[in-house]
Symmetry: C2
Subunit: 234 residues, 2 copies
Amino acid sequence: LLAIKAMLDDSPKPLAGRHVLITAGPTHEPIDPVRYIANRSSGKQGYALATAARDAGARVTLVSGPVALEPPRGVEIIRVETAREMKAAVSAALPADIAIMAAAVADWHVTNQGAEKIKKQADGSFPALQFEENPDIARFVGTHPDKRPKLVVGFAAETQDLEANAARKLTKKGVDWIIANDVSPQTGIMGGDHNMIKIIRSDSIEAWQDMSKQDVASRLIARLSEALEESIEI
Amino acid sequence: LLAIKAMLDDSPKPLAGRHVLITAGPTHEPIDPVRYIANRSSGKQGYALATAARDAGARVTLVSGPVALEPPRGVEIIRVETAREMKAAVSAALPADIAIMAAAVADWHVTNQGAEKIKKQADGSFPALQFEENPDIARFVGTHPDKRPKLVVGFAAETQDLEANAARKLTKKGVDWIIANDVSPQTGIMGGDHNMIKIIRSDSIEAWQDMSKQDVASRLIARLSEALEESIEI
């Protein structure tokens, strides 16, 4: 049946033969065996991108933090919890033609994790948490010495100074595009079904109107397919 | 159809006319607009208890933290995020005949929340988080001056010294029963579909074998129905 559907399916397959690596969702950084630090990423945009890349004919590897979504069929899913696990999974999944780093990776992890559940203190205080910066996965991929994908796309979720913060990440992470969006709670974007993005490149900023995360995904994949063609022709 | 089903349903309704208040799930305590502290509670045990109480004929109010579960039909659901919101919702839902505090309420919240997303610091450090203890919701209900339910049940999720920690909570929180379980990661209980509990009362400890959270729920509700009858007779 799948073979018949494939024969009947006349949609273009611009990414046939390509490997697309996508990260999605939050990471969870443990405090003790039951508590962790999380963020409001639902993984919806990353999963929609994986679906769109698959529909465009790519072989897709989806490295996903903890989310409540069903993985798209025909996509290789690798589930991780922490930023450090996500980096290891991304590293193992390279090489790829396109990497889309859509996960909301925690910037820090707790170094003084409790081996047992931390109890209330007699004085009501909480033991001071010590933090260490997590690996920058987009930067790791964007500056990879021998396995850098032809196109590397980072995401910047900001609540203020969106374009300035995003443009800074473009340089720092060595990525080709930054997809920037405003995740202030009143936008309803983080965890929601719609998205309003800006595509930030070294020489341009392009603002898209508010649309569903599915529409963002299919348009972005179409644009990335074109850009990949151009980069190969050059 | 529902009326016909109700007429055909000859299961006993020991909680008919009773109000059962149940809390479930984790609480999320914000760090900034996108980050928060969470715990691994799935809400499954609390939701199963709400279903079992409804099946026993009770009017059920379920105060739920953020979970990925469908609320049982015929149960009033009140969704909250933080411990402080949960306390307010519980307070508003009183009086009740039985209160079952199954939520894994965060013990602390962050007092120096970022109004904007906290950025990486130049030196790689994370701004020190300051914590303040959350209200003890089980204690609030267990020691309520004029609306204390006839039966108040607390939960104790521990990773060590299970019985001692749980017994201490019995006194401190003024509750009638503590349902204690070992949530060490290797037990698979937190987030999983089974549970292995101990019922701790002032004069007894009763250990149940490992069983599904549904079975724990229906047996506990049956036991609570009997205890409620006895308390009223006395």
